[in-house]
Amino acid sequence: MSNYVQLLLSGIAVGSLYALIAIGYTMVYGILRLINFAHGDMFMMAGFFLIYIAAIPNMPIWGALLLTIALTVLLGFLIERCAYKPLRSAPRMSVMISAIGVSYLLQNFATYFTGGLAQAYPAIPLISNKIEIFGVSTKLITVITPILTIILVVALVLFIKYTKIGMAMRAVSKDFETSQLMGIKINRVISMTFIIGSFLAAIGSIMYFSYYEQVSPTIGAMPGLKAFVAAVFGGIGSIPGAVIGAYLIGICENIIKSFPAIADLSNAFTFVLLIIILILKPNGLFGEKLSEKV
């Protein structure tokens, strides 16, 4: 019994983290039709930001957390401004190549700056504490993660549904030119999308590394890829789809890991799942028909 609870708990926690990253992929795709390959690396960078900031003498942990979030958001904003905005009217393939370039740039920069070795993530008081639920001992973070994720997702959905800028995001995601005719400054809306995506990735990063305790320059790749799979799985462009996809992957992955005979195949499983979904439902669970954006 307690074994299953353990599996479910960690599956939900991991799924939540994938969800926070997946939202960044799916929102950027929704608005730019761009798969932002650098997104997983943003997540890694957020990890290093906290390690280095927390090491500053007399830096309180809450200050380090806030600064980490602020820097990650700034990085996401700058990546869009420098690497994607100049290519706004270029073919989509060019922007994609630019995204791959940014991804390697961040990884190489992190390797250069950190020496390439994995570094220990600081323990954040309180959330790294152990607690016991349903007879299972776990870190408090396991419980906090899904709650915080759900709160953030609900806030985001309400933001997109009810605020003027949220409405503008939906408008821009359908039609750049007509949005401009309304007086919407599309570059601002796009920046906003990257800011939100980076913010969620920073939160996800803090929780992920509090759980796994180590950061290395290429560590963003796997969670990034899985979050991307979650986004495609749920129907890329759809926020609820990305969240549901992320939980499915997180939970299934943990169940597979519990069978020693196939535990090593848990990553392969993720991709097999993706292939099956795409064969059965090419637009994912909640995806709209892929229409070329005018």
Partner: protein, 237 residues
């Protein structure tokens, strides 16, 4: 009457190919001006460059004598010029009400009276306030596109083929609305394939062919013009 809008030597090219080759137009305040011409003549390009979404290579566009060429689309909308694009282009994933709110995007004042005003013009939209715009019929979408443009409180409304693909009865409604809007003091710049109806309601008209203005006159004059009759009214002699 004074000209609210003057376009001088407008040249627009798409990657080296000139779609508009140096046209000039004068739009008197409070009138309906129509621009007719066959497909590919450069009519839509002309309106888009006035709206600022297509950059002109060369142009002087004066609104009340003030240069607006090269300004951003949001500047031009807040200066009082709006464009109802070809093919309606409502936001299909937004509700009717949300589409209208997008039309008023730059406004900081209350839009309640304007909502009442456009719902008065198009009662059908009021009934469908909460419906997604993508589920409306073609005629309703066109009405929404016009209503959305009116939400910016324009002084000049430009319309790009509003009757395209609509049933004759709906086309009549649209033309009635154009006249009503104009009577309320809004200057109209209208592109139409339906040259006959457009020339009938227009105070002033221009004919455009392959990027150049080839004829201009009052609506009546062009209706009676032999070459216009032959090329655009389907009545050859």
């Amino acid at each position: 009457m004074s000209n609210i809008l003057e376009i001088k030597d407008l040249v627009v090219s798409y990657g080296g190919i000139e779609a508009v080759k140096g046209i000039s137009m004068e739009i008197p305040e409070g009138e309906i001006v129509t621009l007719i011409g066959s497909n590919g003549a450069g009519k839509s390009t002309t309106l888009k460059s006035i709206a600022g979404v297509v950059k002109a290579k060369n142009a002087s566009i004066l609104l009340d004598g003030k240069e607006i060429a090269g300004k951003s689309p949001d500047y031009i909308v807040s200066a009082g010029i709006t464009l109802v694009p070809e093919g309606r282009r409502v936001f299909p994933n937004l509700t009717v009400l949300e589409n209208l709110k997008m039309g008023a995007y730059l406004r900081k004042d209350s839009i309640k009276d304007d909502l009442d005003y456009v719902y008065g013009l198009f009662p059908r939209l009021k009934e469908r306030e909460w419906q997604l715009a993508g589920t409306l019929s073609g005629g309703e979408q066109q009405m929404l596109a016009v209503a959305r443009a009116l939400m910016s409180k324009p002084r000049i409304i430009m319309m790009d083929e509003p009757s395209l693909g609509l049933a004759p009865l709906v086309v009549r409604d649209i033309f009635e609305i154009i006249k009503t809007i104009n009577q309320q003091g809004i200057t109209v710049l209208l592109i139409e394939q339906n040259a006959n109806m457009a020339l009938k309601i227009a105070h002033k008209a221009y004919v455009m062919e392959t990027g150049l203005i080839t004829l201009e006159g009052t609506g009546k004059e062009l209706l009676a013009n032999e070459s216009v009759k032959e090329a655009y009214l389907g009545k050859s002699k």
